[in-house]
């Protein structure tokens, strides 16, 4: 028997749902009746301190509490946020960024945001305890000019100015110094639209709408009071929790159940692009690797039917990419993926001097970091094998896989690697290409298994170009060369994530924290 009554007197489910909807609407419309909402995430952050975090999943929580100088809004536009204004000027031959903070921004403990707080976050992000110090390596120092003004002095021109440096988060200096690391973990305080109430690791996080939030237009609706985030890693259980009404919102709807969710009465779904870009890494620098020949790399590009993979393995939950996904800086609509043509692949292999094909190690990721990534990798390797690039499949769990993609990897990735790069939304490839395309491989993400002096020079120029127009030109040029030469791996698709919520609840997705930013809770969606 459930809470609605069971047995012969039980109401039909549709009637119960209708009654629930009416009740929710009445409660929501009644003044003074703020609602408490329970939702579920499939993964759990380990850190709530943004200066101690190293994993993307930590953003699920930190994005609720903390904010940056700039942000990406619901329309995927980068906009000033805690920075009221900023400009780049040159002094002594070096660029520096003058930043003026917004007035009247308060932390959850009532303190007012000052330039000292932002400078403190830079200091904390670059101290030895931080695991992300490298992200700000082009910032020499941050100088405080007065309560609201500060200067970020760069070591040289930095093309990643907006996507990296200006995303610096504001943390309350006095509070962090007073309570220390353990205190911050126990009770994080920022300027964000939600304030911390309690946390039970492996179970739930409870937050409350921050009444004094500086930007009511980008905050949860006043109809929402508390938000309880349950952690339910198992897909079936998370879906069951939603179906039973235990939670009103879930992330990561399994692609195989998307059609079922779309058909559910009283349920809304949104499928959204993730910031990840999947690609098949090819070792093109090892003298023993067949991928050092461009024709073999192009054979690989023709060998795999990624459209079929997106349609049948991912149930359509992927955006096919030639190089960059739509919306990324420098996206070129005219650049199309290589067509699936296994005969052409075999012909190219023969022209490269491998009429009998080649045998290579193919490394797959078995941990579900993206939906069905293991199955996708296995299918790619089957396609390659079918076209003459015979895969000896090596299955790796996450720890072994990420080690293989790194610089200084021992042993080295000697063949094909099912891998990815991410650079947030809307996406800027500069730092990622500096990692997996430039021969020095000192950017973000995967290490490079490619060496092309022309591409190296262009990427170096891109890294130090701050003028947006020139950056777009360079990105398009690099993308075209990279595509033609199948350099730095073979791009495949950008995965999508599906969120689902009950239509008794308004929700407008925001891209922060991989669309798990809860700013739009209680706000009508598109």
């Amino acid at each position: 028997m459930d809470s609605w009554g069971g047995g012969r007197l039980a109401l039909p489910r549709a009637a119960r749902r209708a009654m629930a909807s009416v009740l929710m609407c009445v409660l929501a419309a009644s003044p003074g009746h703020a609602r408490d909402i329970t939702i579920a995430f499939g993964a759990e952050p380990t850190q709530v301190d943004p200066t101690r975090s190293s994993a993307g999943v930590d953003l699920y929580y930190t994005d609720l509490f903390y904010e940056g100088l700039l942000t990406v809004n619901a329309d995927l536009e980068r906009v000033n946020w805690l920075a009221e204004s900023w400009r780049v000027v040159e002094r002594d031959g070096l660029p520096l960024i003058e930043i003026t903070l917004r007035e009247g921004v308060r932390f959850h403990n009532g303190e007012t945001l000052t330039a000292e707080d932002v400078a403190f976050s830079f200091k904390r992000l670059t101290d030895p305890e931080s695991r992300t110090a490298g992200r700000l390596r082009y910032v020499e120092r941050v100088d405080v000019l007065d309560e609201r003004r500060l200067e970020m002095v760069l070591t040289g021109p930095d093309g990643s100015l907006e996507p990296l440096n200006l995303l610096l988060l504001a943390i309350p200096k006095g509070y962090f110094e007073e309570v220390g690391d353990a205190g911050v973990q126990a009770h994080p305080i920022g300027t964000g639209p939600w304030r911390f109430i309690s946390r039970k690791p492996r179970d739930e996080l409870v937050v409350e709408r921050f009444e004094d939030y500086w930007n009511p237009a980008a905050a949860p609706s006043p109809e929402i009071n508390r938000l309880t985030i349950k952690i339910i890693p198992e897909d079936t259980t998370r879906v069951a929790a939603f179906k039973t009404g235990a939670v009103d919102w879930i992330d990561a709807v399994p692609p195989a159940q998307l059609a079922e969710f779309k058909a559910m009465e009283g349920v809304r779904v949104a499928s959204l692009p993730t910031p990840n870009n999947l690609f098949i890494g090819l070792n093109a620098i090892d003298p023993a690797s067949p991928f050092r020949f461009e024709k073999v790399r192009r054979a690989a590009a023709h060998a795999v039917d990624f459209d079929a993979i997106v349609q049948y393995i991912l149930y359509g939950q992927g955006i096919r990419t030639a190089q960059l996904a739509p919306g990324s800086l420098g996206y070129d609509e005219a650049l199309k993926p290589w067509p699936y043509d296994p005969d052409r692949a075999r012909q190219l292999l023969a022209e490269a001097g491998f009429p009998a094909g080649v045998s290579v190690n193919c490394y797959n990721l078995t941990t579900p970091r993206e939906a069905y990534i293991k199955e996708m990798g296995e299918t790619v390797f089957a396609y390659l094998t079918e076209a003459g690039i015979r895969c000896r499949v090596v299955q790796l769990e996450y720890g072994a896989w990420i080690n293989l993609a790194r610089r200084f990897a021992r042993p080295e990735m000697d063949g094909v690697l099912n891998t990815m790069w991410g650079q947030g939304l809307p996406g800027d490839p500069t730092d990622a290409w500096a990692g997996h395309v430039h021969s020095a491989g000192d950017g973000w993400g995967n290490y490079s298994y490619h060496s092309d002096p022309e591409l190296d020079a262009l990427i170096e120029e891109l890294r130090t170009t701050m003028a947006q127009g020139r950056r777009v030109e360079l990105i398009r040029h690099i993308a075209r060369l990279k595509h033609e030469r199948v350099a730095g791996g073979l791009p495949s698709y950008r995965p999508m994530i599906t969120l689902a919520w009950r239509d008794t609840l308004d929700f407008s997705p925001w891209p922060g924290a991989f669309w798990r930013s809860m700013r739009g809770m209680g706000r009508p969606g598109p």
């Binding site: 695991r131 259980t237 996450y398």
Partner: protein
Amino acid sequence: MKVYVLKRIAQGLVAIVGALLIVFVAQRLSGDPVALMLPMDAGEEDFAAMRSALGLDKPLPLPFGIFLGNALQGDFGQSYQWNAPAMQLILERLPATLELAMAGLVFALLLAVPLGVLSAVHRGGAIDRAGKIFAMLGQAVPGFWIGLLLILFIAVELQWLPAFGRGDLSHLLLPAIALGWYPVAAMTRTLRSSMLDILESDYIRMERAIGLPERAIVWRYALRNAMAPLATMIGVYFANMLGGAFVIEVVFAWPGVGRTVVEAVFARDFPVVQAGVVLSAVVFVAVNLLVDLSYGFIDPRIRHD
């Protein structure tokens, strides 16, 4: 008796240290935790600094010695992932796992004892056969599958019980069934066989001859003596449930030790894995010691004098 207990405790300590040594070495052979802790663009010097900070750059015997010394004081170090004391993380989650394991054991006994006794009493009959099939189902089907089926039918379709999480008794029932079903087959078979032996023994024939009611003979006199082998199994299965509940904990989003330790294994969070293993080993040794000592109370013929 005192000598026996001290000897068993000493043996248990050796087992615990042995388990620690195996886990310590195996963990370090499994890969570098620093690779999971640093961002992708970290340099070789960042790796070296982090390894040094965590003591991973020293030859194996040295960190093991340091670790053993600290472990004896209850200090397993800080979790790499959670930035909190490892043993504290484990102990915070222990009540949830104990609750689940005990509920699983109670469920298993509630099924196994009547099934075992009735199967022995009605040997070869319908109850015996039905009991075998029912119990074997639990052993043949993995616990996570039973868990998912329970969620789909009991929680989603019938909406009788919650699908996930820890809360009141209603939250406990489904995971307890999923966890407790597996040992039912073995417990039933053990009890059935033990009951068959007892029911054919002289003193039972004597009790029948003097006219005691069959129900009293079976449930009061035969069952008590038949429970000794089952007591051993209870101890072993309870310890297994404590250590092996992780699949059920993941399926039901149960915030217990198993889930924490398994996730720590994948994250190469050595301090948490080691704290979890030590705790499991201690519980295993303690439960087995208690079971051995309980023999004397169940069967007065067995004394450790």
